[in-house]
């Protein structure tokens, strides 16, 4: 095995940093939109009315039955046309926008299931107590059920966020320069691909390991 040559890494750091920013922005947007949309889908799915509940079930089962890479490619082909039709402004980075949309919609389906389980874990008695005080169903959900549900779901939501963070590396299929893509291309250019991928792997490991340690601490806190 040839000796490893780490010399190209310092020079690549600014590019790797920019790639990390793209990775983090996709992760952040997908978490935010995913949780908001996921909450709406979860409440629709739990609705007594069969129309919203079956639409929500269709959404969740649909997205969960399709590989993420395929969703990414579809949205890459679809979103540019949508944006151009809507805003007539091709200036935006189409690849980034389509990654935002694809990840957000995809993650919403996973978050919806976590949130649904969280909502169901809050006892019926709590709902009765809210209603008995004169709150509407929506108020009871917002003020009583969801705050308790989110507290219980926090570890699961964070775990899902860690998975999402790693999954963003898939955007290389649409040629977006996120962290993994930058590392790969830099290594490919300089002939130090093994070193760059080892380095990128170490960065992923440190970040994800730190995040899951945080999850464990939270779990212990919430259990009290």
């Amino acid at each position: 095995m040839p000796a490893l040559d780490w010399s190209s890494i310092p020079g690549a750091l600014p590019f790797l940093w920019n790639g990390m920013l793209v990775t983090l922005s996709i992760t952040g947007v997908a978490i935010l939109v995913g949780i908001v949309l996921g909450t709406l889908i979860a409440t629709a799915r739990l609705s007594a009315n069969p129309i919203p509940s079956s639409l929500a079930a269709l959404y969740v089962n649909g997205f969960r039955s399709i590989p993420l890479v395929m969703v990414l490619l579809w949205f890459y082909l679809l979103v540019p046309q949508l944006i151009q039709a809507l805003f007539k402004n091709p200036a935006a980075d189409i690849r980034l926008v389509s990654a935002f949309v694809a990840f957000s919609l995809f993650e919403a389906s996973y978050y919806a299931e976590i949130i649904r389980a969280g909502i169901q874990s809050v006892s019926r008695g709590q709902v009765s107590a809210g209603l008995a005080l004169g709150m509407s169903r929506a108020q009871t959900m917002r003020l009583i059920v969801l705050p308790q549900a989110f507290r219980r779901m926090l570890p699961l939501l964070l775990t899902q966020a860690i998975i999402l963070f790693q999954d963003t590396s898939l955007v290389y299929v649409i040629g977006l320069s996120e962290f993994f893509g930058v590392a790969y291309r830099t290594g490919d250019r300089d002939g130090t691909i093994v070193e760059l991928l080892l380095f990128a792997g170490a960065v992923y490991f440190v970040l994800c390991f730190a995040a899951s340690s945080l999850v464990r601490v939270l779990q212990r806190k919430i259990a009290l």
């Binding site: 709590q126 107590a129 008995a132 005080l133 004169g134 709150m135 009583i144 705050p147 308790q148």
Partner: protein, 242 residues
């Protein structure tokens, strides 16, 4: 104040309430007792519309509970309810438990809601615990907070659904004391309970239910002196035997 007329309810094929008719007048304390599964908890939950019923009518101050056009949240805001398992909101402090509905439902300001909350906590002897979370309180304390929370809405009547049956014996008294005082202050109350001592002290009438039917509905003294039906006699002799 509360009138219940020929109310029947089914869970699928199974009938839990059969033609229940009774009333609770203003200032009256009515105790509902009976063996488990007799429908007494279901009946009291029908009164503020937490449980739907298929037949009959319940009116609170002439507003029909079962009518689709009735604004149920508005009606429930005027009728206090206390649950067997307290159902305090665990993510809120005691004070927030007392103020959340005052603020969000009655639109009172923070100051007014807090003052009201403090006065009621003082009345149930828990003023020092205002900033604690429910999990830090004993069962008896939690139930007293739950009573204060219901009273904070200035209800025209209070419903109690087995308020002491999840409590340790030594905590039952502190909760009953609060309820006795409330009754003596003239609150209209409908209380599902097995606490016959409480019924003897403050009830005006006792309702005895069995298999979804109201089988006795009589003034307290008549009920205890001479329960009319054999089923009620059996029930009383069992729970008063010790």
């Amino acid at each position: 104040m509360i009138s219940i007329q020929d109310v029947s309810k089914w869970y699928g094929e199974f009938q839990v309430l059969r033609d229940c008719t009774t009333r609770v007048d203003k200032g009256e304390v009515v105790v509902v007792c009976g063996p488990s599964g007799s429908g007494k908890s279901t009946l009291i939950k029908c009164v503020n519309g937490l449980e739907p019923f298929q037949k009959g009518e319940i009116r609170i101050e002439n507003v029909s509970v079962g009518d689709r056009r009735t604004n149920l949240p508005r009606l429930r805001a005027r009728v206090g309810m206390v649950f067997q398992h307290f159902e305090l909101f665990p993510h809120l402090t005691v004070m927030q438990n007392l103020t959340i509905a005052q603020r969000r439902v009655l639109k009172r300001n923070v100051r007014g809601a807090t003052d009201k909350g403090l006065a009621l906590l003082e009345a149930v002897g828990l003023k020092a615990h205002a900033q604690k979370y429910p999990a830090q309180l004993s069962g008896g304390q939690q139930q007293r907070v739950a009573i204060a929370r219901a009273l904070a809405m200035d209800p025209i009547a209070m419903l109690f659904d087995e308020p002491t049956s999840a409590l340790d014996p030594e905590m039952i008294k502190e909760v009953l004391d609060v309820m006795v005082r409330l009754a003596q202050d003239g609150m209209t109350m409908m209380v599902v309970t097995h606490e016959m001592g409480f019924a003897r002290r403050v009830a005006h009438r006792v309702i005895f239910m069995d298999q979804g039917r109201i089988v006795e509905d009589r003034p307290k003294d008549d009920f205890f002196k001479d329960p009319g039906t054999e089923r009620a006699q059996q029930f009383l002799s069992k729970i008063l035997a010790h």
